[in-house]
């Protein structure tokens, strides 16, 4: 990114009727008292990028007319903010009421604009300092998740969970099928419970052994064993008994028992889905919302809905968050629909199995069923086929109609049981008491022969399904843990950066001050489907994992909020982009402000910073840091001296002159003269000290303030020297000295960030100015001062 901002033109915009902020591609620090138009400049930057001002929209903004608030009360022109860029020297202008930001004619400018995140991610106001700290874990998580853009990963996570459910259902079906087959070989009266094919073969050998079948250890030996047993049976009855056994076996398989459970689950899902759909009319527009969200994400500067072409009254961020929330709800809806679809598939499968079962039973009617049973079977099959059509229609049309349990299933099972018992009685009646064991053995072996291929296949399917189930569980866990670990690693990086910034602000001066916050963590927590991100600190190495609000002072919380914001900008925002800090140092004391200046200069050299402050001390500190690093060519320092409705902010380029001071020695402006008076006083003292060769304590940074000269006794030395030169004016000289040095705290009182400033009156200020001017004149007359250029 090579483009930088050369100028920002506000014509008109809020309190800026026609104002140009010149940056010349550099960072800028703007100093100005309360109500001097600093925040209007920041508002203009936010307006340029987002088309609106966040603080005029959403919760707490009441009835603010956002458009009216952006107009100048006198200038009737449409508010506009224009950015001029360097090196291309082209501009882009946003006018209130126009739609999107006009496309830049130069690609590099468009790239510059596109690479900026939504405005709140690079414009920080004092009131927003504590946002990240006061956020709920879920809100904080969502903010970072948004910054990290985890939607695709979260969607993948859901897919792994759904795939696991899919495979689990398949496994349950396989197990159910195998259980049903094995059930045929179970005789509770004889305590026969077979659990696999090997058990069945062993049981075959056991029941055949009394009939001289000595060798039955392989399935291939089953046919010859059956032949041996068959030869011992009654020729008159064996055919009918075999037919009855076959029919009894078929009727012994119960109808799919899961149908009722699946129907209940489908209906429960239908209820939930119907409710969700009723609550969210846009559910049917799910795809549109998803697309819209993607579009918003890619176009952070839009001010108008891409579909309805209406202005985004709530502003980008609010609409974006609402879309994201709706998309999350739709994601939940989609998950429910997937589950519903799977359940309906399972229902169709179970029903088909039942129909196949009934078809086989129909085929077994070789005159052995009671009269009318086959007709009953046909009737029920037809009814179930109709019901199957209904289920398929509900599934395919995606309607949320209730699905009833088919009454035929219960009726079919009831009549099958009756027929099953009746056929068993018929069969038992055909068997002579002495042939009972033989017939039982024959029946068991024939059943084993008939079902062996099915059981073998079912066992194999179940084994494969079990393997798949284990693999799927490992896959889902692998993704879940890999995601958790990667996201936490990123959160650790962010926490590490925040802590390093916090230590930079609070660990200094050897052991005299160390950070109260000895460790800091951002830990992702599981909060149902949404997730959370817990911010915790270690307090003085003693209390671990605590909420910072429980231990840190307001000032420390402010600086922690600033560190969180700056670390997030450093990590997430693009190099070369803007970082705007609007008066964010209010509750941070002098020494810590010194560290903030250092942090900004050292850690954000690749950003174009726009910093506003009303704090003259900090403004000077920042300037000193920049000078000390030899980076004055990368920065501009601008003082706003005053603001008027007609002219807006006025520069303080000449504020260090007597003309400037005198023109502002009026009731409405004198309180802002602290900086100017300090400049002229220090300049005067330096030149006098130089001329008189006053011994001043050496200061390594070369920056001497009024107190250094006073400490060296400049007031007494100057008084004595002036009286030596003009003894007849001794009383006036003493008065002048008293006017200037006797009110040494006056400048501090005048500083606008000093709450005591109102204690200084205009008369006292004028007295100070007159005293200093008089002393300056006396020094010039008696050559006690080096050339004064003020």
């Amino acid at each position: 990114m090579t483009e930088k901002i050369r100028e920002i033109r506000f014509r008109p915009f809020r309190g800026l009727p026609d104002y140009t902020c010149e940056l010349n591609g550099k960072s800028i620090a703007i100093l100005g008292g309360t109500g001097k138009g600093k925040s209007a400049i920041v508002d203009g930057i936010e307006f340029f990028f987002s088309g609106s001002l966040r603080r005029f929209h959403g919760r707490g903004s009441g009835n603010i007319d956002a458009d009216a608030a952006m107009r100048h009360v006198l200038e009737k022109g449409q508010p506009s903010v224009e950015f001029l860029f360097t090196p291309t020297n082209e501009s882009v202008k946003r006018v209130l009421g126009s739609n999107d930001l006009p496309a830049a004619t130069h690609l590099s400018i468009q790239e510059y604009i596109d690479r900026h995140p939504p405005a709140e991610a690079f414009v920080l106001r004092r009131s927003q300092l504590l946002e990240f700290i006061h956020d709920q874990d879920a809100e904080r998580y969502q903010k970072y998740i948004y910054l990290l853009g985890l939607d695709d990963i979260d969607a993948a996570q859901r897919s792994f969970v759904q795939a696991e459910e899919l495979i689990e259902n398949q496994f349950n079906e396989c197990q159910q099928r195998l259980s049903e087959l094995l059930q045929l070989f179970t005789d509770p009266d004889a305590q026969w419970i077979q659990t696999n094919l090997s058990d069945i073969l062993a049981k075959c050998a056991e029941v055949a052994r009394p009939f001289r079948v000595d060798m039955l250890t392989e399935w291939q030996q089953l046919d010859s064993a059956i032949l041996i047993l068959d030869a011992k049976r009654s020729k008159e009855t064996k055919q009918k008994i075999d037919a009855l056994n076959l029919a009894i076996d078929h009727l012994g398989v119960e109808v799919p028992s899961e149908i009722e459970g699946i129907v209940a689950a489908v209906n429960q899902l239908h209820g939930q889905l119907g409710k969700m759909q009723a609550e969210s009319e846009e559910a049917v527009r799910g795809g549109v919302i998803e697309e819209g969200l993607r579009y918003f994400r890619e176009h952070p500067d839009i001010t108008e809905c891409p579909l309805c072409e209406q202005k985004l009254e709530e502003g980008y961020q609010s609409v974006f968050e609402r879309l994201a929330e709706r998309n999350r709800a739709l994601g939940e809806l989609r998950d429910f629909e997937t589950e519903r679809s799977q359940k309906l598939d399972a229902l169709v499968t179970a029903l088909q199995r039942l129909l196949d079962q009934l078809a086989k039973e129909q085929e077994q009617d070789h005159g052995i069923y009671p009269d009318g049973y086959t007709q009953v079977l046909v009737k029920h099959r037809e009814a179930l086929q109709e019901w199957m059509k209904l289920v398929k229609s509900v599934r395919d049309q995606k309607s949320y109609e209730g699905v009833t349990v088919p009454p035929d299933v219960e009726a079919v099972q009831s009549i099958r049981s009756t027929i099953h018992d009746s056929l068993k009685k018929d069969r038992d009646a055909l068997i002579q008491p002495d042939a009972l064991d033989l017939e039982k053995a024959v029946g068991f072996l024939q059943r084993a022969k008939g079902k062996e291929p099915e059981i073998k296949a079912a066992e194999s399917t179940k084994d494969n399904s079990l393997k798949l189930r284990h693999a799927m569980r490992d896959v889902r866990e692998a993704f879940s843990r890999a995601r958790e670990s990667a996201v936490q690693a990123v959160f650790d990086k962010i926490a590490e950066k925040v802590l390093s910034y916090y230590h930079k602000l609070h660990d200094f001066d050897g052991a005299n001050e160390s950070s109260e916050c000895t460790d800091l963590s951002l830990t992702s927590t599981s909060r149902a489907a949404t997730g959370g991100l817990q911010l915790a600190i270690e307090f003085l190495g003693k209390v671990n994992s605590c909420d910072p609000r429980a231990f840190l002072s307001e000032g420390h919380l402010d600086s922690l909020g600033l560190c969180l914001y700056l670390a997030t900008v450093r990590i997430f925002n693009n190099s070369g982009s803007l970082l705007v800090l609007d008066d964010v140092l209010t509750s941070i004391d002098r020494e810590h402000r010194h560290r903030v200046a250092e942090l900004l200069v050292e850690d954000f050299p690749d950003f174009q910073l726009v910093i506003t402050s009303h704090d003259e001390y900090w403004f000077d500190l920042l300037k000193s840091k920049v000078l000390a690093r030899g980076e004055q060519d990368k920065w501009r320092f601008k003082r706003i001296a005053r603001w008027t409705l007609e002219k807006g902010p006025e520069s303080a380029a000449y504020e260090g002159t007597w003309d400037w001071i005198e023109s502002n020695l009026v009731e409405e402006a004198y309180r802002e003269l602290g900086g100017s008076l300090r400049l002229v006083l220090e300049d005067f003292l330096k030149r006098v000290a130089d001329k008189m060769e006053l011994k001043v304590k050496y200061n390594i940074n070369g920056k001497y303030v009024a107190g250094d000269f006073q400490f060296a006794g400049i007031d007494n030395t100057l008084r004595d020297r002036l009286i030596e030169e003009a003894g007849n004016e001794a009383d006036e000289i003493k008065k002048d000295i008293q006017r200037v040095f006797g009110t040494g705290d006056l400048i501090n009182f005048l500083s606008h960030d000093n709450p005591g400033r109102l204690e200084v009156t205009l008369t006292e200020t004028k007295d100070f100015v007159n005293g200093l001017k008089s002393l300056e004149q006396r020094c010039k007359t008696h050559k006690l001062i080096k050339g004064i250029n003020l």
Binding site: M1, T2, R115, P117, L147, L148, G149, L150, D152, I153, A155, A156, S159, F160, Q162, A163, E165, L166, I167, T338, K467, L468, H470, A471, M472, R473, D474, V475, E477, A478, F479, R481, A482, R483, S485, A486, V487, A489, V490, K493, R570, I571, F572, N573, N574, S575, G576, D606
Partner: protein
């Protein structure tokens, strides 16, 4: 962006979003692969297919199931 796939990164970009995003996805993909290969229940072929799904952004429940069963032909249906 695909998870574990290659992405063009603008050389002008600093330690910005995209770097961290791709770093996260790289970490996730590598860790996922490592965990898959460590599992005694997942074959090398299954691992390859699953990793491929992640890399080309075609993760879905049916595709995951198909990647495990090796039903490659019907995988293209989705």
């Amino acid at each position: 962006m695909t998870i574990g796939g290659e992405e063009q990164i603008n050389p002008d970009q600093g330690a910005g979003t995209t770097n961290l995003k791709s770093e996260l996805r790289d970490m996730l993909a590598k860790d996922f692969k490592k965990r898959l290969t460590e599992s005694e229940h997942i074959s090398e072929e299954q691992c390859k297919r699953l990793y491929g799904l992640l890399a080309d952004g075609s993760i879905s429940a049916p595709n995951i199931a198909k990647a495990l069963t090796g039903d490659e032909e019907s995988m293209t249906d989705d």
